[in-house]
Every structure is written in structure tokens, then in C-alpha cells.
């Protein structure tokens, strides 16, 4: 009596795993965060630092067993503590000095090695907006520069996943490429010393069939209930 029950149980587990592997039509949320911090502490002057954080959230859906499409939202925030040389002494200044937001569409093509592990790669289109405020020393003058830039880029990314449970996947990016991008920037220069200013409009493009590998970033993916 025991043996058939065991067998049925085993069969059920097998069935359950095959059901788990069914991805078509399933929706997921994916996300990752990153934090950077660096500190410089020289002998003679006060310490300065740089910090930044980024977050990205994706919403996607498997349209077939091996293909997923979705939207990606990303944002970052950066700040620093710098020293300004004013009237013969250093004066600290700290605060948020840059931020950015982006939205993109992605397509991912999968190769599932087994129940647990697989790889994916695919193209994406991204539109991003960035703001940066910096202080530059320019010919004995201090230039407070504000840059507002908008960029449209075509990229390719690749990654690997590991299935932690039915609902959760661990995601790791492996490499990325940005073969083509176009950007528009508006730059405001404010020369504090001479009390003058200038405005610039910049248009740039970049075509480069290169990729960066490896580029490892970890993220998590959560599958929504059907």
C-alpha cells in the first residue's frame, strides 16, 4: 500500500514542477537597486564624499514560453559634499546635485536550461532625462554649470536567472551594449567670479557596436498571481 502512494506523490510533484515551468501568459515585476558611496579624506582639508543610488522596476509578461515583453522604469539620485575655495578658505557644500529618470520598453528571449536556470537576452529602447549641477574651476573663475539632458538609446542586454521558488526568481545581468544613442542637452553656465552666464544647446549621437562584459548586477523578480 505504501509504495503506490509514494509513487502517486512523486508523480504529483513531477506534474507540479511541469506546471511551474509553464510561463506563457504570466506577469511579473522585476527590480534592482544599487548604492555607491565614496569618501576622500585628505590630511590638510576637510573630508569630501560622493554618493548615489539607483533603482529600476520592470513590469513584464511572458507572451510565449521563451519570450517576454515589458516596460522598465528607472531612477537615480546622486549627491556630494564638496569644498569651495572662497576668500582664501575652504567652505563645505553638500546636497543632492544630480538626478535622472528613465522609461523603456524591453524584449527578452529565453533559453531555459532546466527547471531552475536559464539565460535571456534581448533589445530595449530607453528614453531618459537627467539633471546635473556641478561646480567647475574654469580659468580662475568658478563655473556653476547646470546640465539638462534627454537621451534616446537602443540597447541590448543579457542576463541569467535562478528560480528560487514558484513566485520568486533571482536575476543577474551579465552584459550590456548600447549600439546607438542620440541625445539633446541644454547647458546653463553661470560664471560666478565675473558675473556672466551662457546657455548652450547640444545635440550628439553615438554609434558603437560594442558591449561591456561581464557587468554583474543582481535583482529579483516576482510573478503575479494569474
Amino acid at each position: 500500500m505504501k509504495k503506490p502512494i509514494l509513487l502517486i506523490l512523486l508523480l504529483q510533484i513531477c506534474l507540479a514542477t511541469t506546471v511551474m515551468a509553464q510561463l506563457e501568459g504570466r506577469r511579473f515585476l522585476s527590480g534592482g537597486i544599487g548604492i555607491d558611496f565614496s569618501n576622500t579624506n585628505p590630511d590638510l582639508v576637510e573630508a569630501t564624499n560622493d554618493y548615489s543610488g539607483n533603482i529600476n522596476i520592470g513590469v513584464g509578461k511572458f507572451t510565449t514560453q521563451n519570450k517576454a515583453v515589458g516596460w522598465n522604469l528607472s531612477g537615480y539620485l546622486g549627491g556630494q559634499k564638496t569644498l569651495r575655495y572662497v576668500n582664501g578658505q575652504y567652505e563645505p557644500k553638500s546636497g543632492i546635485n544630480q538626478y535622472g529618470v528613465g522609461v523603456g520598453r524591453f524584449w527578452q528571449f529565453y533559453k531555459h536550461f532546466n527547471e531552475k536556470i536559464g539565460i535571456y537576452a534581448g533589445p530595449d529602447v530607453n528614453l531618459s532625462f537627467n539633471y546635473k549641477k556641478e561646480r567647475l574651476t574654469d580659468q580662475e573663475d568658478v563655473n556653476e554649470r547646470k546640465t539638462y539632458s534627454t537621451a534616446l538609446s537602443l540597447g541590448v542586454g543579457a542576463g541569467i536567472y535562478y528560480r528560487l521558488s514558484e513566485r520568486w526568481w533571482l536575476d543577474a545581468s551579465l552584459g550590456f551594449a548600447t549600439p546607438f544613442s542620440v541625445g539633446y542637452s541644454k547647458v546653463d553656465n553661470d560664471f560666478i567670479g565675473s558675473n556672466t552666464s551662457s546657455k548652450a544647446n547640444q545635440f550628439s549621437y553615438n554609434l558603437s557596436p560594442s558591449f561591456t562584459f561581464p557587468s554583474v548586477g543582481l535583482g529579483l523578480r516576482y510573478f503575479l498571481a494569474d
Binding site: 551662457s198 546657455k199 548652450a200 547640444q202 550628439s204 549621437y205 557596436p209 558591449f211 561591456t212
Partner: protein
């Protein structure tokens, strides 16, 4: 028993033949890649001063090769680099213009040796001797000034190739190990540069090249 040995060795021969089939003697090779960037910058100052700066850089590369024996190719690479830049300044109605055109033509005869890892992956070692010619033109409002130079170099770099279709491959140099020696004479100034290394840097920036292997039809 003899039959078995005969058939198995025939089988091995077939397998070997299949792996090497991509790179048999007489195969023709073509490779191409391009990198380019550019910018237009328009700047207005509060005082009556305006400036416009534009630049475009184009780096195409085209190479061809012949397999003079199995897994070994002799070829030629032509990689010009072209740069244009133009600056215009206007100070209270006074115009001044500055132009720069730069052209470098690199011609590299090379020998490449292949090692097949699987029917889809190939490793290669690429060694070449580069001859280059540099010509720049500076134009300041109406006066032009030409400068010429030449250079020579030796370069060894390994790489990998991946098969997408039997004829079409993607390849990339891997500068984990490379050897580079170059000499440049430009505007009566000589410079010598030597660079080699086994880099420990894991992250790499790879430039992809499209490659075609066209077998001789016989």
C-alpha cells in the same frame, strides 16, 4: 574487428573534417565594423558673443583574407579614421571660423591562426603589421595649413568568433593579452610606443565585427 577500426577512424575523419570545414584552405573571409560619434554645440553668452562647435568622428574598418592553408589566413585590413570639426565664433558681429579635418589611413597585412572549440565557437590569434599615413588640415578663417605624418606598428591580439549562420559570424578581439609596438613620425616629431600585458581586469569592452566566411565552390 578490422571493420570496426576502419569505420570508427572513418567516423573520426568525418568529424574532424566537419569541424574544420568552416576554415578549409581556399575559404575567403570578409570582416567589417564601424564606430562613429558626433556633436553639435551652440552656445550663447550674455555679452554679444556666440559660438558653434561641431564634430564628427567616423572609424570604419574593412578586412579581407584568404585561407592559404587549413585554419590559417593571410589578409589585409583597411581602417581609416576620419575626423571633422568646425568652430565658429561671433563677437559683436565679427566672425571667425576654425576648421580641422583629420584623416589617418591604416593598412595592416595580417596572419590569423584559428583553433576551433566547437562547431559554433572559434578562437584566433591575430598578428599584423600596420603602416599608417596621417594627414591633417587646419583652416583658420581663410588660411589653410597641411601636416603629414606616417607610422608603423606591430600588433598581436587574440579573439573569439561565434557562428550565427554557416557563412555569417560575429567576432571580437579580447585584449586580455596583447602586444603592441608602434612608431609615429608626425610633423617632424618622432614617438615610439610599446604596450604589452596580461590584464587582470575582468570587465572588458568588446567591439563586435561582422564576419563572412565564403567557401570556394568546387
Amino acid at each position: 574487428m578490422r571493420k570496426l577500426i576502419l569505420f570508427s577512424s572513418l567516423g573520426i575523419l568525418c568529424l574532424v573534417g566537419e569541424v574544420q570545414a568552416q576554415l578549409a584552405k581556399g575559404t575567403r573571409y570578409w570582416g567589417a565594423t564601424i564606430t562613429s560619434n558626433g556633436q553639435i554645440n551652440d552656445e550663447d553668452y550674455e555679452s554679444p558673443y556666440k559660438s558653434t562647435n561641431n564634430f564628427v568622428n567616423i572609424y570604419p574598418s574593412l578586412r579581407t583574407g584568404w585561407f592559404f592553408k587549413d585554419n590559417t589566413m593571410f589578409g589585409l585590413d583597411l581602417s581609416p579614421s576620419i575626423s571633422f570639426s568646425r568652430s565658429k565664433y561671433n563677437l559683436s558681429g565679427d566672425d571667425s571660423e576654425y576648421k580641422y579635418n583629420g584623416l589617418t589611413v591604416n593598412l595592416t597585412p595580417y596572419i590569423r591562426k584559428y583553433k576551433s572549440l566547437s562547431p559554433k565557437w572559434l578562437l584566433y590569434v591575430h598578428s599584423g603589421a600596420t603602416l599608417s599615413y596621417v594627414r591633417t588640415k587646419n583652416t583658420n578663417t581663410n588660411e589653410s595649413d597641411f601636416k603629414n605624418g606616417y607610422g608603423a606598428g606591430l600588433n598581436i591580439v587574440p579573439g573569439v568568433a561565434y557562428r550565427l549562420t554557416p557563412r555569417f559570424w560575429l567576432e571580437s578581439d579580447v585584449s586580455v593579452f596583447n602586444l603592441n609596438l608602434s612608431y609615429v613620425n608626425f610633423n617632424n616629431t618622432n614617438s615610439v610606443n610599446f604596450r604589452t600585458g596580461l590584464t587582470s581586469q575582468i570587465q572588458q569592452y568588446f567591439t563586435l565585427r561582422a564576419a563572412w566566411y565564403i567557401q570556394k565552390s568546387n
